[in-house]
Symmetry: C2
Subunit: 326 residues, 2 copies
């Protein structure tokens, strides 16, 4: 049984929508893909690279006659866009989104959804630190999780249809409560991103260490923070503003823990530090075992050549995972 | 001009010493490599895999007749090891170390160094999150920085000789003041590592989100923190205890910044957040331009196949960089 949509409308043509366009085409999942982006420049690039079959100059035109509409704009823009397109949605259409926060999107979009349209909020845990219409690629969702948070009364046939599409793009689907989604993501994504942004900001401000040296010697750990902190500013501003409560809760816990470790350093409590660092290794093992990363060393950056003297601890396998942005 | 040592003695047989053994052999930089590790199990593994030409059962035997001795043990163990081997060091030998902290190593080792032995403290900014005698490989130091912090009165011929060896292993050498080294590394490595350990610890403690979910959905950013937080506990305990002042200084600045961003989230100040996240992008660009990472998306984990529909933003080039552990 192959899922097929007549017309998929992508509203917002950034990394996620672009990757969906590539993946949908690669697997032949839609007869036609239409697209719209607020920026004329983005629409122009999308047309040049043939990202969609048709790029329209308004969201209302793009959703006309679509049986699947995907809102792929920053979380803060979801509500206004939904309000604009609502009168133009076809009866029986599925409306989904790819926002990193779910409760706020449901509150903003839900009231505008007309009867007969199936609103199924979603969030693909996939991405890179790049953004824009050129940044997408067909394999972005391979082996990634795609969380759906449909309201309890959602038509199960519509949920199944969207699930089939997502699976056909290579991702795994999980159904989740919106509030639980927002808490889990605060831990696994939102708090880590804010922390990375903060550490990069500290380095930027530090006068005694020049920026040149921070950059030159960045490979010692800091570099990975800068990669996270290079993600799209608008998207992340909206994530923090709309998942405020859960993010602040996790950051509060983080600060408590950090103070405890700072105190251990100040007091010279080596045992406490060693115990703590030993516990954190177990979580890492779990992630490798769960297939969400490999145990190849060095973030996959170092691939000892086959003729290198001596064995590498693990085969430098091609990574299946990706660095999602939210 | 090719540098060549008669006998290189490696004290401690973990990731760095093991990689040195492979690199020295691959480039033919020594007639003989001897080794010693405190753990009988490590010595046995090193013998089985032929890591050194000879693995000795004491550090004093290992350094006998060596013209280069490398201390590759945790920073906290440097002093006692130096004291033990000091009477057995050959006159004219070069003594170096690979510790992630330099002032504390100089204080601990310096007083034991006999006249006629050239003590040149060093720190290769290279590594992975793995440890132990099996974890090394010959290309670990390729295109990495190797910082040396020789005292002002060090024999320049000895410094040149060590520099030649390091360059022959593929690394770039820079001379630096020990105090400045410790501050730069606090920013680029030590504080980021403590922060990663802390975030992983928070996730571990969180009761409302099960560990299973944290692991399952780790790909959303958290995963990279767990990789950093899987590094060797003993090594890192010693780093924080011996670079206490600089690390606490940077962590204090980090907490200030984090509080400012938390406040912006709480007050709903989107402009402040957006401005901050925009600034941090510039640092990332600098790192890519400095050749310490590539702009390929996804930590190099995602490699869009050549036949993927649509262009990837950057060629998924093989990474030259590596994730150093200190």
């Amino acid at each position: 049984m192959t899922v097929k949509f007549k017309r998929v409308a992508l509203i917002g043509l950034g990394l996620i929508a672009g990757s969906m366009a590539h993946a949908i085409r690669a697997a032949g999942l839609a007869d036609e893909i239409t697209g719209y982006a607020r920026s004329a420049e983005t629409r122009e690039i999308a047309r040049q690279i043939g990202l969609c079959d048709r790029v329209l100059d308004s969201a209302t035109e793009a959703v006309e006659g679509a049986d699947l509409v995907v809102l792929a704009v920053p979380v803060g823009a979801m509500g206004p866009v939904a309000q604009e397109i609502a009168p133009h949605l076809a009866s029986g259409a599925i409306l989904t989104d790819v926002g990193s926060v779910k409760q706020a999107v449901i509150e903003a979009v839900g009231p505008h959804v007309p009867a007969g349209v199936h609103f199924i909020p979603g969030h693909p845990l996939a991405g890179t630190e790049h953004s824009g219409p050129r940044s997408g690629f067909a394999t972005l969702f391979q082996n990634r999780w795609w969380l759906l948070t449909p309201p309890p009364d959602t038509d199960p046939v519509a949920v199944q249809r969207l699930t089939d599409l997502i699976r056909a793009m290579g991702a795994n689907v999980e159904i989740m409560e919106p509030a639980h989604h927002d808490l889990v993501l605060a831990v696994t994504s939102h708090a880590p991103h804010l922390i990375a942004y903060t550490m990069v900001g500290v380095a930027d401000h530090l006068r005694r260490v020049t920026e040149g040296e921070v950059i030159k010697y960045s490979a010692a750990g800091f570099r990975d923070f800068t990669r996270i902190a290079a993600s799209d500013p608008t998207m992340w501003r909206d994530v923090f503003l709309t998942n405020r409560e859960a993010t602040l809760d996790i950051l509060g816990r983080f600060t408590e823990e950090l103070f405890a470790l700072q105190r251990a350093i100040r007091m010279g409590d080596g045992q406490q530090l060693h115990d703590y660092f030993t516990r954190t290794r177990a979580i890492r093992r779990g992630i490798v075992e769960a297939g969400q990363d490999t145990s190849a060393p060095d973030f996959g950056r170092s691939q000892p050549p086959a003729d290198a003297a001596g064995p590498a601890p693990n085969p430098p396998a091609q990574k299946a995972g990706e660095k999602p942005v939210a």
